[in-house]
């Protein structure tokens, strides 16, 4: 399907304007003609166009001067300079000032056709990228509550994000599990120069060393059993964007050496490959571990640490910003009301008290899941202490008889899994049961990781 565009032709020669208008009309584009730079600028008061074809040599305001004015009004404009054969140098100069391309008149039909195809393809990609980013931002807001925060400590964090985002220096984000380190990374990406590029994330703690290497660097076909086709690595995919390495404290010293070399040389070689592939990205890492301590223990390389940690941003745990808990709880409540269709009006004072007093070892992620669970099991119009018994049963005026044993067990297992970031072995140990028993209960209650 051909996208239809709004095109402006700026040329003092009427025959050129009419010929271009007739040509573009056959492709379904609409064309606005202006016979001078000044006339074109007047048209721009009413609307902007998708593509501008601008003659370089015009009496009065020439093409270069018009280009400068246009770029002030419409920085992303696609501008094609039209030039006669004698002024190619000027056309190249125009491209340095922001024109997308130039054409020498008369044009070869192939050349004009290919150029328009390229512009259309770029426009379609830009529109798709914009739509996908908007969708992602929306999803992020829903899952993590955006940055719902009124506390001073979070406002300071936002200021730091705004300060560090524009540069390309590597950033290390520290903080406990579930505080929102990936959200901070995305905020830095969206406020930085790489915003137009991809945001590629990988959890280094979730993969074995072999799989991690393949994920990061990609592999060639036949590099190992099961590698039936070549695959790009995350380092490659992050080119001109941001690479986010979560749980960087989990990677082995051997992988740290490999990554360090790739970061310093700005290239990556696929597993099983021999040719390095250039890749340039902004590196953001995150960890809940104490990396200086790991260095002292010999489990983390100091040279790698200094490579990834030019700037450190600490994300505070939820217990250090208790004044945000109420707003976050309201946000998640609204979200899950919409998701489940349940008719709930809010929290009782007692429930809010419990939420605010609780220690939140799992931070915002745990809070989100607690609210979700509370919404699911709520019986009345308000979320009360009885829906939060797994947090503080002693403080609740709850009637445990109102909950079934199964509901209590589900809540308790859920809380343990959240605290352990869904590590089954750790959660089983915390609950005092073996792993296979826990797996059976997960299957029986249909509990899955959100």
């Amino acid at each position: 399907m051909t996208l239809s565009m709004q095109i402006m032709v700026v040329d003092d020669e009427e025959t050129i304007c009419e010929a271009l208008a007739a040509w573009f009309a056959k492709d379904g584009h609409s064309v606005q003609i202006a016979n001078s730079g000044a006339q074109a600028l007047e048209c721009l008061e009413d609307c902007l166009f998708d593509v501008y074809l601008v003659d370089i040599k015009m009496p009065g305001m020439d093409g270069l001067e018009f280009l400068a004015h246009l770029k002030e009004k419409h920085p992303d404009a696609s501008v094609i300079m039209i030039t006669a054969h004698g002024s190619i140098q000027t056309a190249v100069e125009a491209m340095k000032r922001g024109a997308s391309d130039y054409l020498c008149k008369p044009f070869d039909p192939d050349e004009l056709s290919l150029l328009m195809e390229r512009i259309l393809a770029n426009r379609a990609l830009r529109d798709e990228n914009f739509a996908l980013r908007e969708q992602l931002m929306e999803q992020q807001e829903v899952v993590f509550g955006g940055f719902v925060a009124q506390s001073e400590i979070m406002r300071e964090l936002f200021t730091h994000i705004e300060d560090v985002a524009p540069s390309s220096t590597p950033i290390l984000i520290t903080g406990e599990t579930g505080v929102g380190k990936e959200m901070v990374a995305q905020a830095i990406h969206m406020h930085g120069e790489q915003a137009e590029g991809p945001f590629i994330a990988i959890n280094c703690g979730a993969l074995s060393e072999t799989l991690l290497e393949s994920e990061l660097f990609g592999h060639e076909r036949g590099a190992f059993t099961g590698a039936v086709k070549a695959r790009r690595g995350r380092l490659e995919m992050a080119n001109y964007g941001t690479l986010f390495l979560d749980e960087i404290g989990e990677i082995s010293p051997k992988m740290q050496v490999t990554l360090l070399r790739a970061l310093e040389e700005k290239c990556a070689t696929r597993v099983g490959g021999s040719s390095p592939i250039e890749t340039d990205f902004r590196l953001i890492s995150a960890t809940h571990r104490d990396l200086p301590q790991l260095i002292r223990e010999g489990r983390f390389r100091e040279d790698f640490f200094y490579r990834i940690n030019v700037i450190t941003l600490g994300v505070p745990p939820l217990r250090d910003r208790r004044e945000d808990i109420s707003a976050l709880a309201d946000y998640f409540l609204e979200h899950y009301i919409q998701k489940t269709g349940k008719r709930l009006e809010g929290f009782t004072q007692r429930a809010l008290g419990i939420l605010t007093a609780y220690g939140w070892p799992g931070n915002v992620r745990e809070l989100r899941n607690v609210i979700e669970r509370a919404v699911v099991i709520a019986r009345g119009r308000m979320i009360g202490a009885e829906e939060l018994t797994f947090l503080n049963p002693a403080a609740a005026d709850c009637n445990l008889g109102a909950l079934t044993l199964q509901e209590v067990e589900i809540s308790h297992i859920g809380a343990a899994l959240e605290t352990c970031n869904w590590n089954i072995s750790r959660a089983a140990r915390q609950l005092g049961i073996d792993r296979s028993t826990l797996n059976r209960k997960l299957k029986r209650y249909n509990l899955t990781r959100p």
Binding site: A22, W23, A25, P106, F107, D108, P109
Partner: protein, 184 residues
């Protein structure tokens, strides 16, 4: 544009600009008749269109030619010029054909269609004629790569076209022909 009744009246006149190979003329006329159902008439040859000659480029301005064709009197509602002279427009180095979108007149040139295979230039001429007359009906370029209304900037693309319209363009062509020339 007059709404002619689709009986025996010519709906399209082919105007020869200079000497043109008779076989090529017959092939073009036959295709316009067969594919588009247009009652086609071939007018006697006219002089070389000197008024459209561009000495600086050694070519003939297609825009001027179709302007002149559109002004001809006592002609069918559509006029298609056929010539062997090389055509161009103010913006393009050459064109195989040119037409008024939703207008009356079009012109095609056989100059750049030559090939060692004697049948290929005839097939090319037929395709370009059908394409340009499609524009006269107000149909724009089609994104389908093998449709007659797909834009061809070179012979390779032209040869890849099927000598037929895609279903969407065909529907549009039939609809516009019925509007232009309603059946009794």
């Amino acid at each position: 544009m007059n709404n002619a009744t689709r009986t025996d009246q010519a709906e399209l006149d082919i105007v020869l600009l200079g000497q043109v190979d008779e076989t090529a003329v017959s092939i073009v006329a036959a295709n316009l008749q067969a594919v588009m159902g247009l009652n086609t008439r071939v007018q006697p040859p006219r002089e070389k269109p000197e008024y459209a000659y561009l000495p600086g480029r050694g070519q003939f301005d297609a825009a001027k030619i179709i302007g002149a064709l559109a002004d001809l009197e006592n002609m069918a509602p559509f006029v298609l010029g056929l010539t062997v002279f090389d055509l161009c427009t103010p913006i393009l180095t050459f064109v195989y054909g040119e037409s008024q979108l939703g207008g009356r007149a079009a012109v095609i040139s056989l100059q750049r269609l030559t090939d060692p295979d004697p049948e290929l230039p005839l097939l090319r001429a037929a395709k370009i004629s059908l394409h340009e007359v499609g524009h006269l009906l107000g149909i724009g370029h089609c994104w389908q790569p093998d449709c007659l209304m797909h834009f061809s900037s070179n012979l390779e693309t032209l040869d890849a076209l099927q000598p037929q319209f895609c279903s969407a363009c065909e529907f549009e062509m039939v609809r516009r022909l019925q509007t232009q020339f309603p059946k009794e």
